[in-house]
Symmetry: C2
C-alpha cells in the first residue's frame, strides 16, 4: 500500500458515514501550541504515529486562521500572497487536501498566521488544525475533537494537539492503524500561567522539524534514552499541572526541551538550531533563575525561545526581555472555532 492509499484508508475509516461533498466556504482558527513534553520521534511516518505521548499548552491568540472554499481551480494564499504549487509548504498542504477531495472538486485556501511560518512557533500545528476544522465545516461533518485530532495528525503530528485550547495530551496509542493516537484536552486550568515568545529570528529554518526528527531517530545514539525520559516527564508534568506546582512544571518542561535539542546535537550530521541570540536568551533565563525568579525556558525545533512563568512575574520578564510576546493561555478558551 502506498503512503497516500494508507492515509486515504485512515481518512475513510474516521469519516465513515459522513458527507463527502463540500459546499460553499468555511473559516476556522486554531491555536499554536507549546509542547511541555515534546513529540519527538515517529513509530509510523505515514500515519504520524509517535513513539511517546506528549503534552502541550495551547497558545491562545497565537495561531492560524484558514478559509477554504470550493473553487474552479486550486489556489493557495499564504498571508495574502499566492504560493506556487511547487513550494514545499504548498505540496504538503495539497497532499493533505487530496485525502478529502472528491473527483473534480478544487479548493481555494487562504491561510494567515499570527506567528512566523516555519520559524519554530509550531505554525504547521495550528495550520493543519485550522484547516481540518475548516474542512469539518465545509463538508458539514460535525466531528468531535477526537476525530478532528485524528485527521489533523495526518497533516502534522503536533497539529492533533492544536485542536483544543488549554492543556492537551496526545495519547501515543499502540494500534498499527493509528485510531487510538489522538489528543485529549485536560480538564485542569491554570489561569496564572504565562508563556513568553522570544523570536530570535523569523528566517525559515535550515532543516524542517520533521527532517530533524527523522535524522535524530535514525542516527543519534542518545535518542535511545529519549522514550524513557519522555514517558517520565509526561507523568511528572501531569502531576505538576494537577497540583499547580510551577517549579516542577517549569523544570520538567525546560529539561525535556533541552534533551530534545541534545538528541539533535548528537545526530549525524549534527542538527543545531541555536543562534547566538538563543544562547544569550538561555543564559539570561538561567541568570534570572539563579537570582530567584521562577522562570523557565522551552524551545521547539528551531532557534526561538519560549519562556514559562507566572502572572506575578510578568513585569519582571518584560523588563528582562523587552521584545517578548506574552501569552496568557487560559484567558480565552473558546476551543477551535468550528
Amino acid at each position: 500500500m502506498t503512503a497516500e492509499s494508507e492515509q486515504a484508508a485512515f481518512v475513510r475509516a474516521v469519516l465513515e458515514g459522513r458527507g463527502r461533498q463540500p459546499a460553499g466556504m468555511a473559516t476556522a482558527s486554531a491555536p499554536a501550541n507549546l509542547a511541555l513534553c515534546k513529540y519527538w520521534g515517529k513509530r509510523d511516518a505515514t500515519l504520524n504515529l509517535p513513539v511517546t505521548g506528549s503534552l502541550s499548552v495551547s497558545l491562545g491568540p497565537l495561531g492560524t486562521t484558514t478559509r477554504v472554499a470550493v473553487a474552479a481551480r486550486d489556489r493557495l494564499l499564504l498571508e495574502g500572497r499566492r504560493l506556487p504549487a511547487r513550494s514545499p509548504f504548498a505540496q504538503r498542504l495539497w497532499r493533505f487536501l487530496d485525502l478529502f477531495r472528491p473527483p473534480g472538486v478544487c479548493f481555494h485556501v487562504e491561510t494567515t498566521n499570527s506567528v512566523a511560518t516555519a520559524a519554530g512557533i509550531a505554525s504547521s500545528a495550528s495550520g493543519f488544525a485550522a484547516l481540518t476544522a475548516a474542512l469539518d465545516k465545509l463538508f458539514d461533518w460535525h466531528l468531535e475533537g477526537r476525530d478532528l485530532s485524528l485527521l489533523a495528525r495526518l497533516g502534522s503530528g503536533s497539529a492533533c494537539r492544536s485542536v483544543y485550547h488549554g492543556f492537551v495530551e496526545w495519547l501515543a496509542g499502540s494500534r498499527d492503524d493509528g485510531r487510538d493516537s489522538y489528543a485529549v484536552a485536560l480538564r485542569q486550568r491554570w489561569p496564572a500561567l504565562r508563556v513568553g515568545v522570544l523570536t530570535i529570528t523569523d528566517a525559515p529554518k535550515p532543516l524542517a522539524s520533521r527532517d530533524a526528527m527523522a535524522r535524530t531517530v535514525a542516527s543519534s545514539a542518545l535518542y535511545r534514552a529519549w522514550p524513557e525520559q519522555a514517558a517520565e516527564d509526561l507523568q511528572v508534568l501531569k502531576q505538576a499541572i494537577a497540583e499547580h506546582n510551577f517549579v516542577t512544571l517549569g523544570r520538567t518542561a525546560e529539561s525535556n526541551a533541552l534533551a530534545m535539542h541534545a538528541t539533535m546535537v548528537s545526530a549525524w550530521p549534527p542538527v543545531l538550531y541555536w543562534q547566538p541570540g538563543t544562547l544569550e536568551a538561555m543564559r539570561r533565563v538561567w541568570a534570572l533563575r539563579q537570582a530567584g525568579m521562577a522562570l523557565y525556558l522551552s524551545m521547539d525545533a528551531g532557534p526561538n525561545v519560549k519562556l514559562l512563568f507566572l502572572a506575578g512575574d510578568e513585569q519582571a520578564v518584560s523588563e528582562a526581555f523587552p521584545t517578548v510576546r506574552m501569552v496568557a493561555p487560559f484567558d480565552d478558551e473558546a476551543g477551535v472555532d468550528c
Copy 2:
C-alpha cells in the same frame, strides 16, 4: 576508609618496593591530549575510575612542564606567579602531592602550560602527567608508563593518557581497586594527522569539567545511553586508526564530542559551555565539510573548538580559521621526558 586513605593505599600498592624519599629537584613535561572518544563519567570518584574506556591523541608541543624540588616550605608557582594555597587549583595539587609526601618534607613546584589553564585544553591532564613524571625522577622510582599512568590518574582521570605521545587508549578496567584502569600507547602512527586548536575564550570555565561530569551522570536521562555509544565509538575509532580511514575517524570523534555536550545540555541544571564564537566555529566547519573538505571538530568540556584534518588541508584550514594553532601530533614522539 576516607578518600585520602583509599588513595594513599592505592599509591602504596603501585609504589611497592620503590623509594619513598625525594631528593634534589626534577623537571618533566607531558603533552596535552585531545580525546577522540571522551572520558565522561566515573564509576568511582575517589580513584577516578571511568565508566567506559576512552581514546586520545596527544598534542605534541602543547602541554605542561613542571619542576619539583624538595624545599624548606611548600610553594607553588603557576606561570611564574605564586598561587595562594586556598585556590582550587593549588588545593587539588597539594592533595595529590600529599599522597607522596614523607613526614616533614616540603615541595617547591613550578608549573608552566603552553595552553591556557582551565580553558578546556586539558591542562589538568598534562599538568598531573608532568607532575607525576617529575615525581618519578625526584623519588628515583623508574616507573613504567603503565604505573605512571595509574598514579597520574589519581590527580585527574584524563592525565593517565597524557603519559604517552601519539594515540593512547585508557582501558576502563573492571577491578574495584583500580589497578587495571590505566593507559596504553597504541603502536599506530599517523604522521599526516593534524589537530587545530581554536581558542574561543581563555577565561576560566564557569564550571569545572569534573563538576559538569558529576552533574551530568547524576541528572541527565540521556546519559543512560552514553556508555553504549562510547563503547561503540571506541571500537570504530581503533579500527579507523588501524586503517587510516580519516572520514570515519573524524566523524566518530565529532559525534562523540557532540554527544558529550548533549548529555551536559540535558543535565539539571543544564550545563552549556558554548559561546557565540563556538557556534560560529561549528557552523564554519560544517560549511567547509559541505563544500567537500575532510574537516571535523571536537570539543572538551569548555567553549573551545578543536579541528581534525589532514596535512594536505593545512593551508585551507589556516585561511578559514586565521587564529588556529596547528599541531602535528606525530612530529615529535619523545614520550614523557623522564
